[in-house]
Symmetry: C2
Subunit: 347 residues, 2 copies
DNA sequence: AAATGCTCGTGAAATGTTTCACAAGTCGAC
DNA sequence: GTCGACTTGTGAAACATTTCACGAGCATTT
């Protein structure tokens, strides 16, 4: 159990009886080294179990072969899936990926950002909380390639970013419900101030207007968070309405809310979709797995991640020649049992 | 948009009119520097926006201030939660955490392990696929502190590890069902070869034996994977049984399977828990969020992560003085609607 | 006034890698 | 046998940091 210092190129060179420059050549430009020499070196490498020191390479090169994705919350499958997309592209480009989660805490976000700065990373993908933090702007000023994921920051709108059109998503969901004959629709979501919620609500209203219906077709049930518990509460409030005015369909700003609403309906013996239809947003894995599979607006999460990573690599490669771009994807409605049509209308 | 070389201690020293050693002292041993000098240096640091180069520090120190958690699949909330526990401890100890996911692919696992080796990390937490891989053993031989998480490898049983007693978990689940009067119980899970599945099944059998019942109370429905689709399939198979022999309760080796079974029951109009009771395993967030909240065996995931990180830090600190330890936690049964008792027995 | 002890600051050395200008060697052509 | 062209290998320099033995400056003691 002897713990020894990791062997260095120098050790390899000594063992192979060549200069240290030659070892480096074998590692980086093998074709410039005579076969006999090369194999001597390779053997020495194998015998010593030599592994290149990434810190030393980074120090020499000025920046590392690593990028980072700083997400809001990796325990949320939405971000985890984005991470997978990023990872795929990173791997293709021989870049290591460093995943971090700020867990929705500003302090943690700042900490990670400064860690990233210290690490001299190659680039950063980020879904941030505070886009005006000093640390973030310091990173940008340093010239670190950065791509914003899913949220497009106000003052940094000109920088590279990827996102999904949430207005379109809200429109898709509510248009679907209208097409299925619903004339009393609830929007469940909040806090309204969250850009995603604002946009999805705007899309809902747009759908109603486009259909030539009155605005009061839509009732808004604002929640204090986007989780299951709030969904249940909203469901209870909804059922508390006088029968006459009770919505026949619910569009939730995300799937967690929708699952909460669904749970409340099931517990209260209200049948879905017969009495109340439900549409969620995000199409997380558990939307399809729900007891009554959930109709949901799917965001191309994996694609989002891939596109973001590709933008980042382009930016890192081209340097100042790179032109910032904003990529916007279109969501897709996945219809499942929770909103199957009740009364047919000619389509 | 001038991209400049990051300022170094040397630049700071020049600006502050001191030697570079002094800057280093301000950074690492501020109390040894006269206040007037120190503030000159601090001002220079602020003006230049100096940030320490972690790669250079690592090179000098021999190993970095980072640890890694290589998980099977970070998109699985189970591992994400473990990650959070680890992160908490890492932060307390001023260590950076590097999250990686092998996505259940051996190739990726090996790739990450060699990346970790190159990075000269401070330590590694890992839930691996292949515990006999050359790369992993190379890491161990190098003396890298390693703690195994959730899976205890055969030949490496003497090393540090944390886990949960799955036999106990299986026992808890099935004992609960027996207590509730069930005398025909299905075990759904597979492939049986997976240690976790083996243990949970063994625990199930143990419960039956302890209760003094015949072994044939338990019917095993083996699945090819631990996901929702396989759960649905198992549910269908279960319903295909002749009424007389159909189990009145199902214990699933994880919650995904249980959600699949629940979904199939709902779709086929079989009421839960009246006709069939269901118990899952892991108590993922969506277990409580299901239309019919799921009874499940909870593993202390967060604690698991914390304990693992603490073991790792101890190992890294004490070096050869450290004694490897295996920490085993006890699972807990969370009873919810999906298995509420049908026939009361005196308890 | 010399010796001692203390505080504060210095600068060279070392960490592992890559690069690059150059040297050594070989071969062919004149 | 000298020159040039080409192949192959060399070793010093640079990257940013930390450490450590040492020295300068100063006050106190003998």
């Amino acid at each position: 159990m002897t713990v020894v210092r990791a062997p260095s190129v120098k050790d390899v060179a000594r063992r192979a009886g060549v200069s240290l420059g030659t070892v480096s050549n074998v590692l980086n430009r093998p074709e410039t080294v005579r076969v006999s020499t090369r194999s001597k070196v390779e053997q020495a490498i194998a015998e010593l179990g030599f592994v290149r020191s990434e810190p030393a390479r980074t120090l020499r090169a000025g920046s590392s072969r690593m990028i980072a994705y700083l997400a809001l919350d990796l325990a949320n499958p939405f971000f985890a899936d984005i991470g997978r997309g990023i990872e795929e592209v990173a791997r293709e480009n021989h870049l290591g990926l460093f995943l971090c989660s700020s867990n929705n805490e500003e302090a943690r976000e700042v900490e990670y950002l400064s860690l990233i700065m210290q690490q001299r990373l190659h680039g950063l993908l980020v879904t941030a909380i505070d886009y005006e933090s000093e640390t973030l702007h310091k990173l940008l000023k340093r010239g670190l390639p950065v791509v914003f994921v899913d949220r497009t920051p106000g003052t940094l709108r000109h920088r590279c970013s990827v996102g999904v059109d949430d207005i379109e998503g809200g429109d898709l969901a509510v248009s679907h419900l209208i097409d299925n004959g619903h004339r009393a629709v609830a929007f469940v979501g909040g806090p309204i101030a969250i850009p995603q919620v604002t946009d999805r609500l705007a899309g809902s209203r747009q759908a109603i207007e486009t259909a030539g219906l009155e605005a009061d077709v839509l009732t808004v049930f604002e929640t204090t968070a986007l989780n299951v518990a709030e969904g249940r509460r909203a469901g209870a409030r909804l059922l508390g309405q006088p029968k006459r005015r009770r919505p026949t369909a619910v569009f939730c700003a995300n799937d967690l809310l929708a699952l909460g609403v669904l749970q409340e309906m099931t517990l209260q013996g209200v049948s879905v979709p017969e009495e109340v239809a439900i549409v969620g947003y995000d199409d997380i894995e558990f939307a399809a797995a729900a007891a009554i599979p959930l109709t949901s607006v799917r965001q191309p999460r994996h694609l989002l991640g891939k596109a973001a990573a590709e933008l980042l690599i382009e930016e890192a490669l081209l340097g100042s020649a790179h032109e910032h771009r904003q990529v916007q994807y279109t969501p897709e409605l996945i219809v499942r049992a929770s909103s199957r049509r009740r009364s047919r209308r000619v389509s």
